[in-house]
């Protein structure tokens, strides 16, 4: 069965595609290491093990947040591209344009922070990112937002190219999402899960990017014409619509790796089903309208919007999560799973996703949110979800691909040691955040009270372990990707 071939011919990378894929993946792992280093510095500073001036801390926090979110977007875009191109025609220029615009955007953000001293973070609340009280000039805020605009435009270009490919093949996005099979009819068993997931991401994240294109330009206009005053609540809604969608899309792009690869390692087909289609259709709608759960503390927000935010929070990611985890567990149960780095990383990612959404659902409850939202509970949630959920999905694909490269030892002893260190470090690091949230430790603060420092120090230890494991992964993956293809594997060979 073609779906169970470890390296199918349809995944062969041409020379140009291999260069582009390597650029994405190597850039991503290098950026992850650098951004994690900033994270370690900040946690050590909060834990009083390092002296970091508050203004520098907020610049590092701005860089870490923007850099991590952007890099997650970039690497999971590569995951989506790698698999979606098997089913529809994707143009390499769009994939490369996204990469180039990402780099240009990243340069703008780096310049805004390290040259322009921007420290207003992402996400910011209006009237930030301006009104810095002399901490940074308005031009730095402008460069920071231009960076985001460039990254958004790049991703929109890639999505439009993918949309063109999908509508050419399936007629429209409704059909590629599988809506025609929701209420009956024989589901095409060959309809790819990657196509369903990609369609959902395109619909939802394109809306978020358009919202971002509106609000970021309005902020820029506000810098040039300060007499324009925006409604802060509308500005916040649009900012979170964009920000929430962008980061949420990463897991839905990343999970494509699980859909495509899991069956190859379990040796058992992973069939599409009506519940699967229903869950993705429901999540397409819910994910678009779930962002008000970021605004539950805004008393000026209409009550019905907040209540909707709570209800949708419970249901937005849940259907897809449920069918994915249930489907994956059913797929691997007594399958004689081939345990290696990709399969281990996939299982880790499902655990990270499952456990990571629990604190999110709790925080999406209005009565809990009122107490927990401005504490480290929230970074506890999204670090859990990203570090142990999304990133392992991308790493699984990288490990899978380097498995086809020349002279690769699959599942080496260092790999077997690196993964537990990553998991242990990740758990210590994220649970320290969650425990701090339970203790009402405020988030986004450079200096902490003495009573809070213990959790910071525990978190710093976890962060160091994660960083060490990631340095190993990054080195291993970079070397692996730069190696030529194994002549034994047709796929991934240069055409």
């Amino acid at each position: 069965m073609a779906a169970l071939t470890m390296y199918p011919e349809s995944e062969r990378l041409s020379a140009g595609e291999r260069v582009a894929f390597n650029l994405y993946m190597i850039s991503a792992v290098v950026l992850f290491v650098l951004m994690m280093l900033l994270g370690v510095i900040m946690r050590m500073a909060q834990g009083t093990w390092l002296e970091v001036a508050p203004d520098l801390f907020y610049r590092l926090l701005s860089m870490h947040g923007a850099g991590m979110v952007g890099t997650m977007g970039m690497v999971t875009t590569a995951v989506m591209w790698f698999f979606l191109r098997k089913y529809v025609t994707l143009h390499l220029w769009a994939f490369v344009a996204n990469y180039v615009l990402f780099l240009l955007g990243a340069l703008c953000i780096i310049a805004a922070i390290f040259v322009g001293r921007y420290g207003g973070l992402w996400t910011f609340l209006y009237p930030l990112p301006t009104h810095s009280m002399g901490m940074w000039p308005d031009a730095s805020a402008a460069w920071f937002m231009i960076g985001y605009l460039l990254i958004g435009v790049g991703m929109l270009l890639f999505y439009l190219d993918a949309t063109a490919g999908l509508v050419r093949k399936y007629g429209n996005l409704g059909r590629s999402l599988g809506l025609q099979w929701l209420f009956g009819g024989r589901i095409d068993p060959e309809h790819p899960k990657a196509v369903v997931a990609s369609t959902m991401v395109i619909i939802a994240n394109s809306l978020g990017i358009i919202a971002g294109a509106v609000i970021l330009v309005m902020y820029l206009v506000g810098i040039v014409y300060p007499e324009f005053k925006l409604d802060p609540l509308v500005a916040k809604n649009l900012t979170y619509w964009f920000g929430h969608m962008y980061i949420n899309a990463t897991i839905y792009m990343g999970v494509i790796a699980v859909y495509e690869l899991l069956a190859r390692y379990s040796g058992r087909p992973y069939a599409i089903s009506r519940p699967f289609l229903w869950s993705w259709a429901a999540s397409t709608l819910f994910v678009i309208i779930v962002f008000p759960h970021h605004l539950l503390m805004d008393y000026a927000q209409p009550r019905w919007v907040s209540i909707t935010g709570q209800i949708i929070s419970y249901s937005a990611g849940f259907p897809v999560f449920l069918v994915t985890v249930w489907g994956a567990l059913a797929n691997i149960h007594r399958s004689g799973m081939r345990w290696s780095m990709p399969s281990r990383l996939m299982i880790l990612s499902l655990f990270g996703w499952a456990a990571g959404i629990v604190p999110a659902i709790l925080d999406g409850t209005i009565s809990i949110n009122r107490v927990m939202h401005n504490t480290q509970w929230v970074p506890g949630h999204f670090h859990f979800y990203l570090l142990l959920g999304v990133l392992p999905m991308a790493l699984a694909l990288m490990y899978h691909v380097i498995g086809s490269r020349r002279n690769q030892v699959s599942n080496s002893a260092a790999d077997r040691l690196g993964l537990p260190i990553y998991l242990l470090g990740g758990l210590i690091f994220t649970l320290a955040f969650l425990a701090a949230g339970h203790l009402s430790v405020a988030r986004r603060m450079s200096s902490h009270l003495p009573e809070w420092i213990f959790t910071d120090q525990v978190g710093a230890v976890g962060a160091i372990l994660v960083l060490l494991a990631m340095i190993y992964f990054a080195t291993r993956i970079t070397i692996g990707l730069l190696r030529g293809p194994d002549s034994g594997h047709a796929a991934h060979a240069a055409a």
Binding site: S14, E17, T89, L90, H91, L92, W93, A94, L156, L157, L160, D161, T163, A164, V167, R168, G171, N172, L173, G174, L179, I203, S206, I210, A213, V214, V217, M218, V221, E227, F228, K229, L230, D231, V234
Partner: protein
């Protein structure tokens, strides 16, 4: 080569009607009418003119407008000028600027849009439409919240009404586009031809 004289005559008539003092007085009496009725009508006349162009002129333009990029860029850049409140104001006060408006909107917005749209790939059309929707929301919002009149010829409430209608138009375009993407049919057009050698 054959000029479609009746169409050209009808286009010229339409422009003359739009230029006539009664039509101008009515369509330029408010910022909303000028921006949302007069300018789109002028662009529509330009698009209509495109259908009357002789084949040789169409081919000449096509050679300079590969994949519709130059035409859509020209239309976008010209639209940028006529989106500015200062330009709308000047077109009411100054005969030369008014002349420029009546010439450039049909010829540099309507006509290239009509000619280039069918050549444009789905990606390019998507970029154009997404930016159009975002621009409607941005301008609509700006006109709604601006504390001062942006045109000396029009009152603040007119400006805010225009802002409201731009938001409505942006939302309507968005709903139509989503409906088309989710349930519509697509002409593969030039995308299908581009599939071969461009991966």
């Amino acid at each position: 080569m054959r000029l479609r004289l009746p169409t050209i005559a009808a286009c010229v008539m339409a422009v003359l009607v739009l230029v006539s003092p009664p039509a101008r007085a009515w369509l330029e009496s408010s910022m909303t009418a000028q921006m949302l009725v007069q300018l789109p009508l002028l662009a529509a006349v330009g698009a209509w003119m495109a259908s009357a162009l002789p084949a040789s002129a169409g081919e000449w333009f096509a050679r300079r407008d590969r994949w519709g990029i130059n035409g859509l860029l020209l239309a976008s850049m010209t639209s940028l000028v006529w989106m500015l409140p200062r330009a709308l104001d000047a077109a009411v006060d100054d005969a030369w600027i008014a002349g420029a408006k009546f010439a450039t909107i049909p010829l540099l917005i309507g006509m290239p849009l009509a000619l280039s749209w069918r050549r444009a790939s789905l990606v390019l059309r998507g970029v154009f439409l997404a930016e159009t929707i975002a621009t409607c929301f941005r301008l609509g919002w700006l006109y709604q919240v601006s504390p001062q009149r942006l045109c000396s010829n029009y009152l603040l409430n007119d400006q805010q009404r225009l802002g409201y209608w731009l938001l409505v138009i942006g939302a309507a375009l968005f709903v139509l586009l989503m409906g088309k993407l989710l349930a519509g049919r697509f002409d593969p057009g030039p995308d299908a031809q581009m599939q071969g050698g461009e991966r």
